[in-house]
C-alpha cells in the first residue's frame, strides 16, 4: 500500500500555525503542538493570509478558470476565476470538488513496481525511469501507443512529438463524452468537424432536443450563466425554453414546457418543425435554404405526429414560436445519443439554419472540440490492435476506458496482453500545463502548492525518457523540463497573437489572469451538398421492452468524479439520491409491474445486466427507464469501489454510424424482491399545498393576475383577531429592534431568485468545501443524517393529466429575525448577533437539540458521530484529505448542533480588513458567501438589508419576493423570488 505522507514533510509544506484540522475539544489542551516555520519565506505568502493562484479546472473539457485559495502553503479552496471568459467566477460542483482529486487519499503516491509476488512496492523515480527506459528499449517505436483524454494544448503536442521521435503515430484520445453525433452532423450539414459556439444570451427561445446544457453538455457553467441572463424573469420580460426528451432531466427543470415524444424520435420532430418554419415562417431563412425544401417536405407534421406521439398543431405552434424570435435549437446531448442521434443533431442544425439562427445564435469559428477529434471507434481500433499484438507498450494518461466503455469493447482483457506503464502524475493543481478548450482561448495551469506526494508530471517524465532513450532527442524535446517546453510553446502563442511585449511580461500577465483569450473570428457557413442526404429514421431499438437511457450524471460526469466524497455525498439534482445508483421509473409503470420505490430491480439488455433500486419519477415516459452514468467502479479508490452499477455494462459495444457509442438500449426489468432504503435527503416530494416553493406564469405576473400565496384556512380569521395578531407582531418587531438589530448595524440577508436557480447544486458542494462539512456516507444518508447545511429541495407538481413540473427551493438557515430556535436554547449556544445573523456557538452547545425541533425550516444539523477523529468510524478526512480543511472554520465535534452561518468567517475577516483600512462599514458585495460565489446562474445574492441600495435590498423588495412559511412570523433573512414560467397560451 502507498505509504503515509511523512508528517514533517507535510508541515514543511504547511508552514506556520498548527494548520486547519481544528478539532473542537474541550478547553485548551496541553498536547504540545509544533510550530513549523517556513524554511525560506515563499513570495507573497503571509501565514494566516490567503494567497490566490489562477489556474485551470481540468475536471471536464470545458476549461473553467480557477482561483486556488492557498493558506500556509496548502490549497484549501477553489473558486471560479472572475477573469475567465468561460465561467466568469462561477464554478460547478465538479469544479468545487477538484480539490479532493488533489488530496485524494487513494492517489498513487509515487512510482511503484510489481515485485516477484505480484505486490506493488514504492520505488525511487530514478529507478522507475531506468526500468521504463529498459522496458521500452525492447519495444520497437512503431509498437508504442499513447492513450490520453482530451489534452488539447502543450501536453498534446509533446505527446505527439514524443511519439514521432520514437517513430510511432499510434496516438489515441478517448473522451467518453465525445459528442460524435454532433460533430458528425456539423460535418454533414456544414462540412466542418467541430462543435459550434452557442450564444444562449442572444436566444429568446431555446428548443433543446435532449441536451443537458446545464449539467454536462460541452460548457455547462458558461451556458448556465448565459441562459439565466436571457431566460430568467426580469422587469416583465423573459425568454422561453421548451425541452424535447423522453426524460425530464435537471436541465429541463428550467423548461417552460416539456415535450415527451416517443423515445428516439426527436429528430423527426425537429425536421417537421424545420419543415413548417421553412414553409410558413421562412422570412429569416437564408436564400440557399431552398436546397433543403425537398428534404424537409418528407417530414409533414401530420405524418410525423403519430410516429413521435406529438400532435401536429403542437408542432406547428412550436415552429411558429421558434421562428418568431432569435431562437436556438440544441441536439447531440450524451443523454440522447441513440444510434440515430447524428441525424437528430443534423435536424437541429437544419432547423437552426432555416430559422436564420446560424450566425446569430449559432457561431462557427471559435471551434470547440471537447474530444480532440477522437471517437469511440478510435478506442475500439486500439482494442483490436492490442488483441492482435500490434501494441508493444501502451501509455495511458488521463483516460479510463476500462470503466467508461461497454464490456463488449473488451478493453480490460485486451490490456492484459500489454506491458502497461502508468507514471503517477501531478494533480492539475500541482503542475505546469495549459489547455485550449476552444480556438483563441489559451488557459494556463500553474502549481498552486508543492506536490502532496512523490509524484512527477508526465510531461517531465516523457522529456526524461526522450533524453534517456539512446540517441539524442530532437530539438523540440530538448527542453530541460516540461515548464521550459511549455514556455517555448507560449513564445509561439505570443507570436501568433502578435503581442509585442517582452515574453516575461506576457508570461506573468497570462499567469495572473489565468491565460489569454482572443475572440476567434466567426466564419460564415452554408449548408453543403451532403445535407440533402440526411435521413432521419428515429431510434429503431425500441421493441415492446423498455428503452433504457444511460445519461451523464451531473455530479460524477463520466465516472471520473466517483472518488470524490463531496460528489458522492451530493444528492442528485433529480432523484436526490447520493452514494448509489438507481433506476428511474414512471410511477404508473411501477404500479403496473408492482414495483415500490426502493425495490431492487435487475435491468437486463443484450449486452448484460445490472441491479439497482427503483426511483419512481413522474418526469419520465412510461415506456422508458433511465440510469445515471458514473457509479459501479471496480477500482478507483475507497469512495468509488463496488458502489452502485456501471451502466456501460448495459450498452452495446458496436460503434454507431457516427463512430460513437449508443446510450440508448432496449432492456427488460425484473423485480429481484430485495428492497433498499434509498440514500436520499428527500422526505416527501410533494408540497402538500404549503406554498414553500412558489411559481407563477409570465402571463399572470405581467397582467397583475399574480397574487401572494395564502395557505388555505378552513375558517376565515375574524377581523379583531387579525388586529391582535398584528399588534403581537409589532411588539415582537420592537423587541428585536431593541438589540439594535436595525440602524447602525448591517442586517445580513440573502435573496434567492428561483427564476434563476437551475438546481445544479454547485452551491451545496461549495458549502461543503468552505465550511468543513463532513461527508457522512451512504448509511447515514439513509438515516437522514446528512450534514449539508444547504439542500436544494425538489418538489414534483402535476403528473397524471396535469403537465409535470418540478419546483426547486434552495433551503439554508433563514437567519430569522424572530428565530424560533433562539429562545429555546438553554445555554445561549444559538442567539441573534447584532448584525442579524443567527449565530451558532459550537463550543457552547450542549446538544439538547431543542433548537432543531423548533426550527420550522429544518436546517439545523446535529453531529451524531465524531467526524473529526481518526479513531472514529465516521472520520471524514482520511490523510491527506484533512489538508483541505478551511483553517478559518471550526471542525465540529460529536454532540453539537451546526447550521448555515452565512459564511460568518468571511463576514468577520472582511470586517477585520475594513477596520485595518480604517473603514467602519463594508461595501455592498464585499462579502460573498461560498454558495453565492459559485452559483453559475447568479441565483443567490448576499448583502446588507439595512442598506437600501444594496443588491439584496432591491431584490427583497421585488414583487416576486416572499418568505417561506410566512405565517409563522419568523421574519426570515432569506427572501425567495417566485419562479416565473413563460407558459404558452395553449399549453
Amino acid at each position: 500500500m502507498p505509504k503515509e505522507m511523512d508528517r514533517r514533510g507535510f508541515l514543511k509544506v504547511l508552514g506556520v500555525t498548527g494548520g486547519g484540522a481544528a478539532a473542537l475539544s474541550g478547553c485548551s489542551s496541553d498536547s504540545a503542538e509544533k510550530l513549523i516555520p517556513y524554511l525560506v519565506p515563499p513570495d507573497y505568502q503571509i501565514p494566516g493570509v490567503p494567497t490566490y493562484y489562477a489556474t485551470t479546472c481540468r475536471e471536464c473539457p470545458a476549461g473553467c478558470g480557477l482561483h486556488v485559495k492557498v493558506r500556509e502553503g496548502r490549497a484549501v479552496k477553489v473558486e471560479g476565476n472572475p477573469e475567465s471568459p468561460i465561467n466568469r467566477g462561477a464554478l460547478c460542483a465538479r469544479g468545487q470538488a477538484s480539490l479532493q482529486g488533489l488530496y485524494n487519499p487513494d492517489r498513487l503516491r509515487g512510482p511503484m513496481a510489481r515485485t516477484a509476488d505480484g505486490e506493488f512496492e514504492p520505488i525511487s523515480w530514478d529507478d522507475a525511469i531506468a526500468r521504463v527506459t529498459q522496458a521500452l528499449a525492447g519495444v520497437d517505436g512503431d509498437r508504442m501507443w499513447f492513450l490520453t483524454g482530451n489534452e488539447a494544448g502543450s501536453f498534446d503536442s509533446l505527446v505527439n512529438e514524443w511519439l514521432a521521435a520514437v517513430g510511432s503515430q499510434s496516438r489515441v484520445v478517448y473522451e467518453p463524452f465525445g459528442y460524435e453525433a454532433l460533430r458528425y452532423a456539423s460535418r454533414e450539414i456544414f462540412g466542418m468537424d467541430t462543435v459550434p459556439e452557442y450564444r444562449f444570451a442572444d436566444a429568446e427561445f431555446v428548443l433543446s432536443f435532449g441536451t443537458d446544457f446545464l449539467e454536462t453538455w460541452l460548457n455547462p457553467v458558461q451556458y448556465a450563466r448565459e441562459f439565466a441572463a436571457s431566460h430568467s424573469y426580469a422587469d416583465g420580460r423573459m425568454g422561453r425554453y421548451v425541452h424535447v426528451d423522453a426524460r425530464l432531466g435537471m436541465t429541463a427543470f428550467s423548461a417552460d414546457e416539456w415535450v415527451a415524444p416517443t423515445p428516439g424520435t426527436e429528430g423527426l420532430l425537429a425536421m417537421a418543425i424545420a419543415n413548417v418554419v421553412l414553409r410558413d415562417h421562412g422570412e429569416n431563412a437564408p436564400r440557399d435554404s431552398s436546397r433543403l425544401r425537398a428534404l424537409l417536405d418528407q417530414y409533414e407534421p401530420e405524418t410525423v405526429a403519430d410516429r413521435c406521439g406529438v400532435p401536429a398543431d403542437r408542432i406547428r405552434r412550436l415552429a411558429e414560436e421558434f421562428s418568431a424570435v432569435p431562437s436556438l435549437a440544441l441536439a447531440g446531448g450524451m443523454g440522447a445519443q441513440h444510434d440515430d442521434a447524428h441525424s437528430t443533431a443534423a435536424a437541429a442544425h437544419i432547423l437552426n439554419y432555416v430559422a436564420g439562427n446560424v450566425g446569430r445564435t449559432v457561431m462557427f469559428g471559435a471551434d470547440r472540440d471537447p474530444a480532440a477529434g477522437s471517437t469511440y471507434r478510435g478506442l475500439a481500433d486500439l482494442v483490436d490492435a492490442m488483441r492482435d499484438g500490434q501494441v508493444g507498450a501502451l501509455f495511458v494518461h488521463g483516460a479510463n476506458p476500462a470503466y467508461a466503455s461497454p464490456q463488449g469493447t473488451g478493453f480490460s482483457e485486451a490490456m492484459g496482453q500489454v506491458g502497461l506503464k502508468v507514471p503517477p502524475d501531478h494533480d492539475p493543481m500541482e503542475q505546469w500545463n495549459d489547455f485550449e478548450p476552444q480556438a483563441g482561448t489559451y488557459l494556463l495551469q500553474q502549481p498552486a502548492m508543492q506536490p502532496v506526494f512523490e509524484t512527477r508530471q508526465t510531461g517531465d517524465v516523457l522529456l526524461q525518457l526522450a533524453g534517456a532513450m539512446g540517441d539524442a532527442p530532437p530539438a523540440q524535446l530538448s527542453a530541460a523540463n516540461y515548464k521550459e517546453y511549455l514556455q517555448q510553446r507560449w513564445r509561439q502563442i505570443q507570436r501568433q497573437l502578435r503581442d509585442g511585449s517582452p515574453f516575461e511580461d506576457f508570461w506573468i500577465e497570462s499567469l495572473r489572469v489565468g491565460g489569454v483569450h482572443r475572440e476567434a473570428p466567426t466564419r460564415p457557413v452554408r449548408v453543403v451538398g451532403t445535407a440533402s442526404r440526411v435521413s432521419v429514421t428515429g431510434w429503431s431499438g425500441l421493441g415492446d421492452d423498455f428503452a433504457l437511457i444511460a445519461y451523464p450524471s451531473p455530479a460524477l460526469f463520466d465516472g471520473r468524479g466517483a472518488n470524490r466524497p463531496w460528489l458522492q455525498e451530493l444528492p442528485d439534482p433529480v432523484s436526490k439520491i447520493a452514494w448509489s445508483s438507481w433506476v428511474e421509473l414512471h410511477p404508473d409503470t411501477a404500479e403496473r409491474l408492482g414495483i415500490a420505490e426502493g425495490d431492487v430491480l435487475e435491468v437486463s439488455s443484450a449486452a448484460g445486466s445490472v441491479t439497482a433500486p427503483a426511483f419512481l419519477y413522474p418526469g419520465i415516459s412510461p415506456n422508458v427507464v433511465a440510469m445515471p452514468i458514473g457509479q459501479g467502479h471496480t477500482a478507483f479508490g475507497r469512495y468509488a469501489e463496488n458502489r452502485g452499477a456501471n451502466v456501460y455494462h448495459l450498452l452495446g459495444s458496436e460503434p454507431t454510424a457516427f463512430a460513437g457509442l449508443s446510450h440508448y438500449t432496449a432492456v427488460t426489468i425484473r423485480n429481484t424482491g430485495e428492497h433498499e432504503r434509498l440514500a436520499t435527503n428527500a422526505g416527501r416530494s410533494r408540497q402538500m399545498g404549503r406554498g414553500l416553493s412558489q411559481s407563477t406564469t409570465l402571463l399572470a405576473i405581467t397582467s397583475g393576475e399574480d397574487h401572494p400565496f395564502h395557505i388555505e384556512h378552513a375558517a376565515e380569521v375574524p377581523e379583531h383577531v387579525e388586529r391582535v395578531l398584528e399588534e403581537v407582531q409589532e411588539a415582537q418587531t420592537q423587541e428585536t429592534k431593541r438589540g439594535n438589530y436595525a440602524g447602525e448595524h448591517p442586517r445580513w440577508a440573502m435573496a434567492v431568485d428561483l427564476s434563476r436557480c437551475t438546481g445544479c447544486s454547485a452551491c451545496v458542494t461549495a458549502c461543503h468545501a468552505e465550511n468543513n462539512i463532513p461527508t457522512v456516507g451512504k448509511e447515514l444518508v439513509q438515516h437522514g443524517r446528512e450534514m449539508s447545511w444547504l439542500r436544494i429541495e425538489r418538489y414534483f407538481e402535476g403528473g397524471g393529466d396535469e403537465p409535470v413540473k418540478v419546483e426547486l427551493l434552495p433551503m439554508m438557515c433563514q437567519h430569522c429575525e424572530r428565530a424560533p430556535c433562539e429562545p429555546v436554547c438553554p445555554v445561549f449556544a444559538t442567539y441573534h448577533t447584532p448584525d442579524g445573523l443567527n449565530a451558532q456557538i459550537y463550543n457552547r452547545c450542549v446538544g439538547t437539540r431543542y433548537c432543531a425541533n423548533n426550527c420550522p425550516y429544518k436546517v439545523r444539523y446535529f453531529n451524531w458521530f465524531d467526524h473529526q477523529h481518526e479513531a472514529d468510524a465516521a472520520y471524514a478526512w482520511p490523510d491527506p484529505l484533512h489538508m483541505l480543511l478551511n483553517p478559518d472554520v471550526t471542525v465540529r465535534s460529536k454532540g453539537v448542533m451546526e447550521k448555515c452561518t452565512f459564511c460568518v468567517q468571511r463576514v468577520r475577516s472582511a470586517q477585520d480588513q475594513a477596520r485595518l483600512e480604517g473603514r467602519d462599514n463594508l461595501r455592498d458585495g464585499e462579502v460573498r458567501t461560498a454558495c453565492q460565489q459559485t452559483c453559475p446562474s447568479e441565483a443567490l445574492v448576499f448583502g446588507d438589508l439595512n442598506d437600501p441600495d444594496s443588491a439584496v435590498s432591491r431584490l427583497a423588495a421585488s414583487e416576486r419576493g416572499y418568505h417561506v412559511l410566512e405565517g409563522l412570523n419568523t421574519a426570515p433573512g432569506v427572501t425567495y423570488l417566485k419562479k416565473v414560467r413563460n407558459v404558452a397560451e395553449e399549453a
Binding site: V846, K858, Y861
Partner: protein, 450 residues
C-alpha cells in the same frame, strides 16, 4: 375526594403491638426469591449502563434518531417517569390535607415510588444530550466567562421544577419515616440498628416531638401540594412553548398533570398488588384501598380521554392546516399503531372502571394498570416522535425507529427504579405504622391483657 369511602384495616381490632409486629415483619430476613429478583434487576441495569457508555463513546448516532425527529425514546421516557412520580405526592400530600384516611396504608409506597421515579427521570435529560460532559452548563452558576443560562428556555425551567420536586418529595418521605423507623429501631441489631438510629433522628416519641412532627408534616404537605400541579405543567411547557404542530397547545399543562396522576396511580397499583402478597399485609392493604385507587384512575382516565378528544377537536376547529395535517398523520400516518395503542389503553379501557366488579377485582386492576402504564408511555412517544416526524417542511419529514441502545437504556431505567424500590421495601416500613395505628380504635382492656 370526601366522597371516597374511608375503610379501616380489615383486621379485627389489632393491638398496636401487633401492628408494629406485622409491619416490622416485612423487614425480616429476605427470601431467596428476593435476592434472585434483585440480582436480575441489577443485571438489566448493568446492560443499560453498558449501552449508555457505548453511546457516550460513539455519539448519539447509535440511537435511532432520524432527523427531523431529534427527540425520541429518551425524552418520552423522561416524561413518563416524571409522570409516575406524581401520584406519590398526590396521595401523601393532597389526600393528607383532605384527611382521607384510606391513604394511610398506601401512601408510603407511593412516596417511595415518587422519589425513585424522579431519580430515574432525572437521568434522562443527561442521557439525551449530545455532550453529557457539559450538561452542567444548564445550571446557572457565576463564572469568569460571564456566561449565563437562558431563562427563556423551558429546559431551564424544567431543571428547577424537577430539582425542587426531588428535594421536597425526598424530605417528605424521610420525615414521614421518622416515627416508624423509631418504632422498628429496637427490633434490630447490627448495621440496621445503626441505620435506623441515624434515620430516626433520635426520635423518642415525646409529646413535644409529636407536636412538632405533626406540624412539620402538615406544612410539608401544604408545600408539596402545589408541586403536583406545577412540575408537570412545566414539563408540558417543554412542548407547549415550541411551534411544533401537535405540541403548541394551551391544553398541555392540565392534560399532562392529569395524565401524570393517571399513570402514577396505575404504577402504585402495579406495585401494591405484588407487594401485599409478598409481605402478607392483605389486612392492611384491602380491596377497599384498591377500589379507591381505581376511582382515582377512573377520574383521571376520563380527564385524559377528554384531553385527547379536545386535541383533535381543536386541530380541526382551528382550521390551521399544519395542525390538521399533524393530527391526521397521528391517526392514520406511519405511526397509527402507536396512536391507537395510546387511545385504547388510556381512553377506552378505563371505562371498564365504571363497573364495581372491575374496581374490586384485584387481578383486573393489576392488568388494567399495566395497560395504562403502557398506554401512557406511548402517549409520550406519540406526542414527541409522531409530531416531530411530520412538521412544516414536507421535504424534511422523516421516519424514526428506536435502536437497541435506546431499548437497552429504557429497560435499564426500569431496573434502576425497581432496584431502589426493592432495597427500600426490605429496609423501611412500606406501610406507615404510626398512621395505621391512628385509624384503629383504642384497644380495650380485655385485649390489653393478652
Amino acid at each position: 375526594m370526601a366522597t371516597i369511602a374511608q375503610p379501616e384495616p380489615a383486621v379485627e381490632h389489632p393491638s398496636y403491638a401487633q401492628v408494629t409486629r406485622d409491619i416490622a415483619a416485612t423487614l425480616g430476613r429476605p427470601s431467596r426469591g428476593y435476592f434472585i429478583l434483585l440480582g436480575s434487576v441489577v443485571t438489566v441495569l448493568a446492560v443499560g449502563a453498558g449501552a449508555l457508555l457505548y453511546q457516550i463513546r460513539m455519539g448519539l448516532g447509535v440511537a435511532g434518531y432520524t432527523p427531523p425527529v431529534m427527540w425520541g425514546v429518551y425524552i418520552a421516557t423522561f416524561v413518563f417517569w416524571v409522570g409516575i412520580a406524581h401520584s406519590g405526592t398526590l396521595i401523601s400530600a393532597i389526600l393528607y390535607l383532605f384527611r382521607s384516611a384510606w391513604r394511610t396504608s398506601v401512601y408510603r409506597t407511593a412516596e417511595a415510588m415518587t422519589v425513585f421515579a424522579v431519580m430515574t427521570a432525572g437521568l434522562f435529560p443527561l442521557i439525551h444530550v449530545g455532550r453529557i460532559w457539559y450538561a452542567y452548563w444548564l445550571i446557572p452558576y457565576p463564572n469568569q466567562r460571564q456566561l449565563w443560562v437562558n431563562f427563556k428556555s423551558p429546559l431551564v425551567w424544567d431543571l428547577f421544577a424537577i430539582g425542587t420536586y426531588f428535594t421536597v418529595s425526598t424530605v417528605f418521605l424521610i420525615v414521614g419515616l421518622v416515627p416508624d423507623v423509631a418504632a422498628v429501631r429496637e427490633k434490630f441489631t447490627g448495621w440496621r440498628k445503626k441505620l435506623y438510629t441515624i434515620t430516626s433522628l433520635n426520635w423518642r416519641g415525646t409529646d413535644q416531638q409529636w407536636r412538632h412532627y405533626t406540624r412539620a408534616y402538615l406544612y410539608l404537605a401544604a408545600l408539596a401540594t402545589p408541586l403536583v400541579l406545577s412540575v408537570h405543567s412545566v414539563v408540558s411547557w417543554d412542548f407547549a412553548m415550541s411551534i411544533v404542530p401537535g405540541w403548541h397547545a394551551t391544553i398541555f399543562a392540565p392534560y399532562f398533570v392529569a395524565g401524570a396522576i393517571y399513570s402514577g396511580v396505575a404504577m402504585v397499583v402495579t406495585l401494591l398488588v405484588p407487594l401485599r402478597k409478598v409481605f402478607h399485609v392483605e389486612e392492611y392493604i384491602t380491596v377497599d384501598h384498591f377500589e379507591n385507587l381505581a376511582k382515582l384512575l377512573l377520574l383521571t382516565g376520563m380527564i385524559v380521554g377528554y384531553a385527547y378528544a379536545t386535541e383533535y377537536f381543536i386541530a380541526w376547529y382551528s382550521g390551521n392546516p399544519f395542525e390538521r395535517a399533524a393530527f391526521w398523520n397521528r391517526a392514520f400516518g406511519e405511526y397509527w399503531w402507536a396512536s391507537w395503542t395510546m387511545i385504547i389503553c388510556n381512553g377506552v379501557l378505563p371505562w371498564m372502571l365504571w363497573f364495581r366488579k372491575v374496581r374490586r377485582s384485584i387481578p383486573a386492576l393489576f392488568l388494567l394498570s399495566l395497560f395504562v402504564n403502557l398506554g401512557m408511555w406511548f402517549e409520550r412517544f406519540v406526542i414527541i416522535v409522531v409530531s416531530l416526524s411530520f412538521e412544516y417542511e414536507p421535504y424534511a419529514m422523516g421516519h424514526y425507529t428506536p435502536s437497541w441502545v435506546e431499548w437497552a437504556i429504557l429497560a435499564g431505567s426500569f431496573a434502576w427504579f425497581f432496584m431502589w424500590f426493592l432495597l427500600f421495601a426490605k429496609n423501611f416500613p412500606t406501610i406507615s405504622i404510626t398512621e395505621v395505628k391512628e385509624i384503629i380504635p383504642m384497644p380495650r382492656k380485655s385485649q390489653a391483657k393478652v
